[in-house]
């Protein structure tokens, strides 16, 4: 069994530390149990079940660090991995950015584990996929999808008596449903810690209805449009932006967060006033471990407040250079929204485009965070508050910074990937060409 309890993990790590001869030593132990089913053309194509556990040992003499890992746990192997990391440390050059280890910390206990999700079997996976196939077969459509569940634990310990442990579960499901003629395609994906929230039947019905509804798409001129981004589409744009919420690259002058003449843009009104984004490991809808790999506690952090940049992340090294507290980034971002549903946002729109998802988003210019990508699997024209007809997919060239300056309305946030993201109504979103892809 690859999932150790807090006490079991602590016992192994203590034993490993007792073998250390280095000035300082950091350990990271993690294990996972999980499985998946992949299907296409309405039939299972591959399936697997994987269980693994691994220990990483990082030993430091002065400022020289070496790292080694192992996946055997008898005493001889544990001694060997410690010795190997110490040998590598002696060979390594000095790291001028080495930070002395943290001592014991207090961490909140995040609600990341769900017993039902941990109890998923190959049979229950097959049953969930069966429900999805039932939808596509009944409607004479073709489904391709992927279901994956995982239970894992992480534990860290160091020679200054720091110890942290977290156990998590995760189930994710995605399905693309296409019509047999290949003229319509719909998609949905969902991810939860809690199995009870996952309904592969209902989700597959949404994908199927998008497949049918998107058939026979009309071409309309590319240009600037009001768009309603479903949370999945909005989330991909935000994810690309948050990779730049790093103080060091901003201070170094090579980020869209860099200030002209030097420094960062913390404190600047960079977005519309209705943009509020934070992260919180204790959020019950999107919980994460309340510590990072360095052992720095992760607390609730406001990143953007009323459109003003409030914080950027600081590594321990960069925080020391700048005389501030280290601030780890937390991927589980929560964007506050309103109470409107997606349907209500559509109803309030005179003319616009509804975007199910984006695809192949790549950075074009890191200076302005200009991104390019395409719409995919369900793009529709809205007029007078109603979806009128499906439209051909577009390529866009747009910066999420510009996008978040043009926010007309935000709906009710929903779990999307690792975040809680609202559907968004954005004006003047830039589509630059048409694609024939379905």
């Amino acid at each position: 069994m690859a999932i150790l309890s807090k006490e079991e993990a602590q016992a192994i790590l203590k034993k490993v530390l007792s073998f250390s001869k280095a000035d300082s030593c950091e350990l990271s132990l993690n294990g996972s149990d999980g499985g998946n089913i992949r299907y296409a053309r309405n039939a299972v194509s591959t399936a697997g079940q994987i269980s693994k556990m691994s220990l990483a040992v990082s030993s430091t003499f002065g400022k020289k660090t070496g790292m080694a890992t192992i996946n055997e746990f008898d005493d001889e192997s544990l001694k060997k991995v410690v010795a190997r990391s110490e040998e590598l440390a002696k060979l390594a050059p000095e790291n001028p950015e080495f930070m002395p280890l943290l001592g014991p910390q207090q961490y909140a206990d995040a609600p990341t584990f769900n017993a039902k999700t941990a109890a998923i079997t190959p049979d229950s996976r097959a049953e969930m996929v069966g429900k999805s196939l039932q939808v596509s077969k009944a409607a004479k459509l073709e489904a391709a999808g992927f279901l994956e569940n995982s239970t894992w634990f992480n534990a860290i310990m160091n020679s200054k008596n720091l110890f942290a442990y977290n156990k998590s579960t995760d189930i994710s499901f995605s399905v693309t449903v296409r019509n047999q003629e290949g003229t319509g395609s719909g998609y949905i994906e969902q991810r939860f810690n809690d199995l009870d929230k996952m309904d592969t039947l209902a989700l597959s019905k949404i994908a199927a209805s998008k497949a049918t509804g998107s058939a026979g798409a009309k071409a309309i001129e590319p240009g600037k449009y009001t768009v309603i981004l479903e949370p999945l589409a909005a989330s991909d744009m935000l994810g690309n932006m948050f990779r730049g919420f790093d103080a060091r690259s901003a201070d170094e002058g090579r980020s869209f967060m860099s200030k002209k003449g030097g420094g960062t843009r913390i404190g600047e009104q960079l977005f519309s006033e209705n943009v509020n984004i934070y992260s919180d490991p204790m959020n019950p809808d999107v919980p994460t471990a309340a510590w990072n790999n360095d052992g720095v506690p992760i607390n609730k952090t406001q990143w953007i407040e009323n459109g003003v940049v409030k914080n950027l992340s600081y590594s321990r090294y960069w925080a020391e250079q700048k005389g501030v507290k280290p601030l780890p980034f937390n991927r589980s971002i929560v964007m506050e929204g309103g109470t409107q549903s997606l349907e209500e946002l559509i109803k309030s729109t005179e003319k616009g485009i509804l975007v199910t998802r984006f695809w192949y988003i790549r950075s074009v210019d890191p200076q302005t965070l200009l991104l390019t990508g395409l719409t995919r699997d369900g793009t529709f024209y809205i007029e007078n508050g109603e979806i009128k007809f499906p439209v051909k997919n577009f390529r866009f060239n747009e910066s999420p910074v510009i996008m978040l300056n043009n926010v007309e309305a935000l709906g009710k946030p929903v779990r999307t990937g690792n975040g809680m993201i609202p559907p968004m109504k954005i004006r003047d979103f830039t589509f630059t060409s048409l694609s024939d892809a379905i």
Binding site: L270, I361, T372, S435, A437
Partner: protein
Amino acid sequence: MKRKDFLYLSGLGMGALMLPDLSAFGNTIDPLQALESVDVKIKKELADVALNAARSKGASYADIRIGRYLNQFVSTREKRVQGIANTESYGVGVRVLADGCWGFAATNKVTRDDIAKAAEQAVAVAKANAKIQGEPVQLAPQKGFGEVSWKTPIEINAFEVPVKEKVDLLLNVNDIALQNGASFVNSVIFAVNEQKYFASTDGSYIDQDVHRIYPTFNVTRIDRESGKFKTRNSLSSPMGMGYEYLTARPQDKVSGIVTRYKGRYDMLEDVKAAALNASEKIKAKSVEPGKYDLVLDPSHLWLTIHESVGHPTELDRVLGYEANYAGTSFLTLDKWRSKNFKFGSDKVNVVADKLQPGSLGAVGYDDEGVKCGKWDIIKDGVLVNYQAIRDQAHIIGLKESQGCCYSQGWDDVQFQRMPNISLQAGKEKLSVDDMIKNVEKGIYIIGDGSFSIDQQRYNFQFGGQLFYEIKEGKIVGMLNDVSYQSNTQEFWNSCTAVCDQSDYRLGGSFNDGKGQPSQSSAVSHGSATTRFNGVNVINTARKI
């Protein structure tokens, strides 16, 4: 190497936001230990255990891959070494056909008992899935080769070169960048060695030793006054070679407005040019959008070939197996059956080649025991073939597989991956200078940049590293903010000239992603400098 590990280790990905997770890419090992490979006799014995166990449980076919995957990474920034790691991943994957359905299981415990157990699990998985399977798998016949072996023909094993030599080279690269005006520089060397043993119930026992190397850097120039920053990446290419790739000779250099490299690479020379280019880019003028004739260097064109020719001719995409992830393809079977689908102009000849020396995809045999070869994909502009594996061959009327099966490791199931896909050089003598002489209004693009393409591979947009404006047959200066947007078929039909073989060079992708769970593979794409007429160029400058 798995893609997320590459991004983490390279420091080229998400930087500070990527969390270190060494366990994901195997165990860190002593460099010298990496050199001892496992005895073939032992591997054959272990393989027979799996094959016999699978057969006794009712498998009609079985194969086993015993894999030892070694990676070495050395990464630096400015005057500092960021990371040195040697990693190893060792284990066994067993794939079986039972009741007409595939099953797969893998274990990192390389003992007779655990291997037999994995084979039994694989059969159990196959039988369970067979209950919801439609048509049974049809496997193209493959003769057994007995005990054979293949090795990447390297001159210097990168794993035998001392780490200190690599660190010294990279810190030297960084110094040169900083001396020539760079504000920041990251540089890395990756080395990969796949020691793969394959055996199947067809009677093959194939031992292969595959090497790859990728030295690269990224230079950034900041202009504090204007608040602008510009980058220039290395013009190296990942290669299926040893450390000799880093020992460039005069004949390996292609002179021109910037020196490019053919087969071997001079990192110290290129980084000096890069630092100077980054400063030039700060001052370069912004492009006027419109139609231009594009002259594309092989260091750029490889990526356009990869995305717009390589991916849409993958048969699994054509058939719908990738619909939920990478997507499908516009090159549907009816277009291929028509025998007259004009993919490109008459100048466009594309071949798939699994044997090309120095390429990332070169192996003797694929990961399901098929001997590798070479075939036409696009002939005189017409779509003539795809990329197939054993369970797909019958769909396109082939009697045997084209040998395109690959898995990134012992613990992932093998599936169809792209072979090296290359544009053939022009048959008539044509130099880059002569090509540029005839361009009235054009842009000469060197190096790969931003890339994005739709899920059926029609609409794409590509950037680059260096853009030079061509006016009336002459290069008149550098441009900024250039991307070109086109449709695959339109673009390849606008191809009007391809330089001759003397300009042919390889580029490639070290980490091409596909599949769920996602797997990475490495693949090369060759071409000579090529001209495309009247392509739509957009200006990507914005204000925030």
